[in-house]
């Protein structure tokens, strides 16, 4: 196989694996956080404003790990530097 097909194949497979594995952890974490926040709101409805705000901030923190994976996958597919190098040569 020449360089182009090796790099193309590796980028696409790695991008798929990145999203696949990288979304498992944040999904489990966000599920736990939302479940815990819902039960807290059910127990203390007066504090729902504070709980919701903290929940949003926490969800954004958790979600950023998945977003990193998405950015890596996007770079691998759309802006791969090795691909550009091999094509330009």
């Amino acid at each position: 196989m020449d360089h182009i097909s090796i790099i193309g194949m590796a980028s696409i497979i790695t991008a798929g694996l990145t999203i696949c594995i990288g979304s498992i952890g944040p999904a489990l974490g966000e599920g736990r956080a939302v479940a815990q926040a819902l039960s807290s709101i059910a127990q203390q409805p007066d504090e729902s404003g504070t709980i919701t705000r903290t929940l949003f901030v926490g969800l954004a923190m958790i979600e950023s790990t998945a977003i990193y994976c998405l950015v890596i996958a996007m770079i691998l597919i759309f802006a791969n530097p090795f691909w550009d190098y091999v094509v330009s040569r």
């Binding site: 901030v57 954004a60 979600e63 977003i67 996007m74 802006a79």
Partner: protein, 242 residues
């Protein structure tokens, strides 16, 4: 139809006007347009303010916005919001407006480019020590880095850098993925479904603006707060029992 093609992940590569080595790309153009819009609207509205019970609807809108921002800042930082309102409010308004204008065809959110979000994150990175030093003095601020022991210094520094990176990449990833998912869905299921994703994208944009502003406030508050908590505890020793 799309200004940015599917192949590019940033609007920086779309050059609109070039003269010599000076080039004007879509990100800069739309950033300046959002800035001009914000400035013009606030200047026009605040030109004739009324203190009576009868006020124009634009003044009402701005008052609602500003008082909501003040309340949020007060709740998050447990301090008076006047000092932080200009910085945090500007961050929130700029990101929110530039995300929400995405419903206009031909507009590319400048927050969907890593250079814009990196600039915003760097301004937060600079604002944290500025507010911290203004509040506690240089020695008091720097002492935070060597607490509890001096061995924590590299971890504090790493934490500062990585959270700045996280701020930038989070906003960029969310906005960029919203645009890209819309474009991909348009090719796969062109009927109705992309509109729903667009609506979801507006919600995501607003939430991301809120999160960016709140996180900036949390970072600044963490650099200034310990001092105030101690004072408050001395003033009201039985606060926890209420």
């Amino acid at each position: 139809m799309d200004v940015v093609g599917l192949k590019e992940i940033s609007s920086d590569v779309v050059v609109i006007w070039q003269w010599g080595f000076i080039s004007l790309n879509a990100t800069i153009l739309y950033t300046w347009m959002v800035m001009a819009l914000l400035t013009m609207v606030s200047w026009l509205v605040t030109r004739k303010l009324s203190v009576g019970p009868k006020l124009s609807r634009w003044q009402n809108l701005l008052e609602v916005l500003v008082s909501a921002m003040r309340n949020q800042i007060r709740e998050v930082s447990q301090q008076e919001p006047d000092q932080y309102l200009p910085f945090i409010g500007t961050l929130f308004l700029f990101i929110a407006i530039s995300n929400l204008l995405a419903i206009i065809p031909g507009y590319v959110p400048p927050t969907g480019s890593l250079s814009t979000t990196a600039a915003l994150a760097i301004s937060v990175f600079v604002a944290v020590p500025v507010y911290g030093i203004a509040d506690k003095g240089a020695i008091g601020y720097l002492k935070r880095y060597v607490r509890p022991t001096v061995f924590m210094l590299p971890f504090h520094v790493m934490g500062e850098i990585s959270r700045t990176l996280a701020l930038a990449v989070r906003l960029f990833g969310n906005m960029m993925s919203g645009t890209k998912i819309g474009a991909i869905l348009l090719a796969v299921v062109p009927l109705f479904f992309p509109i729903l994703m667009q609506v979801l994208g507006l919600l995501t944009g607003l939430i991301q603006a809120y999160i960016f502003a709140i996180l900036a406030m949390v970072y600044i508050a963490s650099a200034t707060r310990a001092h105030h908590e101690k004072e408050e505890n001395n003033k009201h020793p039985s606060k926890g029992e209420r």
